[in-house]
């Protein structure tokens, strides 16, 4: 990161902490346009501060959508969805940066949770993530960027969905190789679409299935191998090795459920998180 950018983000962190009376504790993520910090409030309670540098060419419509979506997320109170505890704050006029607060979650995200999980752990992961997605989908919020870094396993063993809904509003912080931003290895065929076919609740269902697949096998169903065009080619058809072939020890009901979540046709998957959570619950 260039010195100017580092300085700008440091300024932004200072601005946010001053505005909300927070004290920085430690940095969690320091990306180009996005930073995540653990902060403490005046009572000493830990919170997570998320900062987005929109640059000089911020899209007013995207900002408006982000405002609406943060307001919606504030209204989501579900044990499997991280709680947004502040409004979306804007820096500058017109805004060139935004920030907001979320609850602090203990535990670790799925990037550090290994693989080869037992069936009951996989079901718990799928059930919790699907339930969290269901709560979002009922508010018409689509996550769009479900990836291992966006699901936290708490010390209690529960799983919590993080960063919901922000992918679409932070295009510059996402990785865009098709029509939509997302994380390589965890995109869906719909991420390649620019218009009507872009991600829906059924795309989040695919994402949930991909995370369970990852936890079961150690790699996502459509892994990224370093070549964008080759990845997109495979992603178009969601071509993958069936879970039952890689983990024949798993119950067939679970393997079948995961296959349905990974169907290349969104209309062939579970329609949303609520339907998926119900399916996991029925196993």
């Amino acid at each position: 990161m260039c010195c100017a950018k580092v300085s700008r983000m440091a300024d932004l962190l200072g601005t946010a902490c001053d505005q909300l009376a927070l004290t920085p504790v430690r940095a969690l993520v320091q990306g180009g346009q996005k930073q995540v910090h653990v902060v403490s409030d005046s009572a000493g309670a830990h919170l997570v501060l998320k900062l987005i540098d929109l640059g000089q060419a911020a899209d007013p419509a995207a900002l408006e959508r982000a405002r609406r979506e943060v307001a919606l997320l504030q209204s989501v109170d579900h044990p499997n969805v991280v709680k947004v505890t502040s409004e979306l704050h804007e820096v500058g006029s017109p805004p060139t940066a935004t920030f907001w607060l979320e609850e602090y979650l203990d535990g670790t995200d799925l990037r550090y949770c290994g693989s080869g999980w037992a069936a009951e752990e996989l079901v718990a992961l799928g059930r919790d993530v699907a339930a969290g997605l269901g709560a979002l989908h009922e508010k018409k919020v689509i996550h769009r960027d479900l990836s291992p870094g966006n699901v936290q396993r708490l010390t209690t063993g529960a799983f919590v969905v993080m960063d919901p809904g922000f992918a679409k509003h932070t295009l510059r912080s996402g990785i865009t190789i098709g029509g939509q931003p997302g994380t390589r290895g965890f995109m869906t065929p719909e991420h390649l679409q620019a218009f009507s076919g872009s991600p829906t609740a059924a795309s989040d269902v695919f994402g949930c299935g991909a995370l369970v697949y990852l936890a079961a096998t150690g790699h996502p169903p459509v892994p990224y191998k370093g070549d964008d065009s080759e990845y997109m080619q495979r992603l178009r058809t969601a071509n993958h090795i069936p879970l039952r072939d890689l983990r024949p020890d798993l119950p067939s009901g679970l393997a079948d459920l995961i296959e349905r979540t990974l169907h290349p046709q969104p209309a062939r998957r579970y329609r949303n998180g609520v339907a998926l959570a119900k399916a996991f619950g029925a196993l």
């Binding site: 719909e190 679409q193 009507s196 076919g197 059924a202 969104p266 209309a267 329609r271």
Partner: protein, 383 residues
């Protein structure tokens, strides 16, 4: 279920539809604002009188707003359409959500007045990942906001239905709206019969039908024999009629024509033979009957009377029988049953061609549809 009778430029829609409903070879009627007036005009009944007559006979009455026809190249036959109160300002203006809402409300109001199910208007899409497809999605969203019990229409040309992942993604987005049912329309650049269908178009139509028919009814307007693969994929009804215009949704049938003609087109009296899943000209059929009466009787089957309504009755019965035969099956068994029908028909054509010298054989009546079906079955791991 069977056959829905599309609207016609002639004035026999009610009488023949009532006969079809009573005879079990039609489930009802789909009125078109391009073919019928809102008020009676001396040649045709009013839309309300048509609705009442069909429903009194026990049939379904639908009003298709056919907004998608406005997008057709050279669309210009607005003699009847102009009577319908579908637009507050410029005809076809869907450039804002407010304009969409206004149009949807007017369409639903007309359907309510006519006791038609709410069938949402849609635009014609040529490729399912474009600003136009986005308009189609937004119009569908507006319609579902206005009436959560509405059916959604999906209208696309052959390129639209031939698209792969883009079609699937577009259909997936529409599926999120959870309408009461689906009405598909395949529009065509020519009105030749049988339609010049492609393998990919049939595959796409089947994929969409199979996906959406899992928990909602799917129908294919103007489908006729070209939509039989959709029946195999789970559709319940196809649209048809006695004129080509009722069997194919082709651009030239919506072009401007002289105002003082009703121009119903020619009767489409080619006998449709169940055993061929296709048709012959009347002359060819006469030769077949004359030369090989037993073969003709087996393939037809049943008698085809000389009058247009009798020819239509037989045609609609053939389609109804296919739909009925498939309706008790699902998934793989349903597709396999349809494939066997195609294989059987394909096997019959050489003898018929040898006897009649017909120009249109299985390469037009069978090949593209069977090929699309087989690609679909292969994609499902059924073949």
């Amino acid at each position: 279920m069977g056959v829905l009778i599309q609207d016609t430029a002639r004035n026999n829609l009610v009488t023949w539809s009532v006969h079809a409903v009573a005879g079990g070879y039609g489930v009802g009627t789909m009125l078109s604002p391009f073919a019928s007036p809102f008020e009676a005009n001396g040649f045709k009944r009013s839309a309300l009188a048509t609705s009442e007559a069909i429903r009194e006979a026990g049939g379904e009455f639908w009003l298709d707003p056919m907004t998608y026809a406005l997008d057709m190249p050279r669309a210009g036959d607005f003699r009847h359409y102009a009577e319908w109160d579908f637009w507050s300002t410029t005809r076809g203006d869907l450039t804002s959500r407010a304009a969409m809402r206004e149009h949807v409300q007017r369409v639903f109001r007309a359907q309510t007045a006519l006791d038609s199910p709410a069938l949402a208007p849609t635009v014609l899409v040529s490729y399912p990942d474009t600003p136009r497809s986005q308009t189609a999605l937004e119009l569908a969203q507006v319609a579902m906001e206005a009436d959560t019990g509405a059916w959604l229409s999906v209208a696309g040309d052959q390129e639209f239905w031939s698209a792969g992942a883009e079609l699937d993604a577009h259909v997936g987005a529409l599926d999120q709206l959870e309408p009461a049912g689906w009405m598909f329309i395949v529009t065509r650049g020519d009105n030749s019969m049988p339609p010049s269908a492609s393998t990919n178009e049939i595959f796409g139509l089947m994929r969409a039908t199979y996906a959406l028919s899992q928990d909602r009814p799917v129908r294919v307007a103007y489908g006729d024999l070209a939509a039989v693969p959709a029946l195999a994929a789970g559709a319940e009804v196809v649209g048809t009629g006695w004129d080509i215009r009722q069997r194919i949704c082709a651009y030239q049938d919506f072009e401007e024509r002289p105002a003082d003609t009703q121009d119903g087109g020619g009767w489409y009296q080619r006998p449709t033979l169940a055993g061929l899943l296709g048709g012959l000209t009347s002359r060819e059929y006469e030769v077949l009957v004359s030369e090989e009466a037993a073969l003709a009787a087996r393939l037809t089957p049943a008698a085809i009377g000389p009058r247009p309504e009798q020819a239509f009755r037989h045609h609609a019965t053939v389609l109804t029988n296919v739909a009925t035969a498939l309706s008790s099956l699902s998934g793989r068994a349903r597709a396999e049953a349809m494939r066997q029908m195609y294989l059987d028909a394909e096997g019959e054509w050489p003898a018929v061609q040898a006897i009649t010298g017909t120009r249109l054989g299985p390469s037009r009546w069978i090949a593209p549809f069977k090929a699309g079906l087989e690609v679909f079955m292969t994609s499902e791991g059924w073949l």
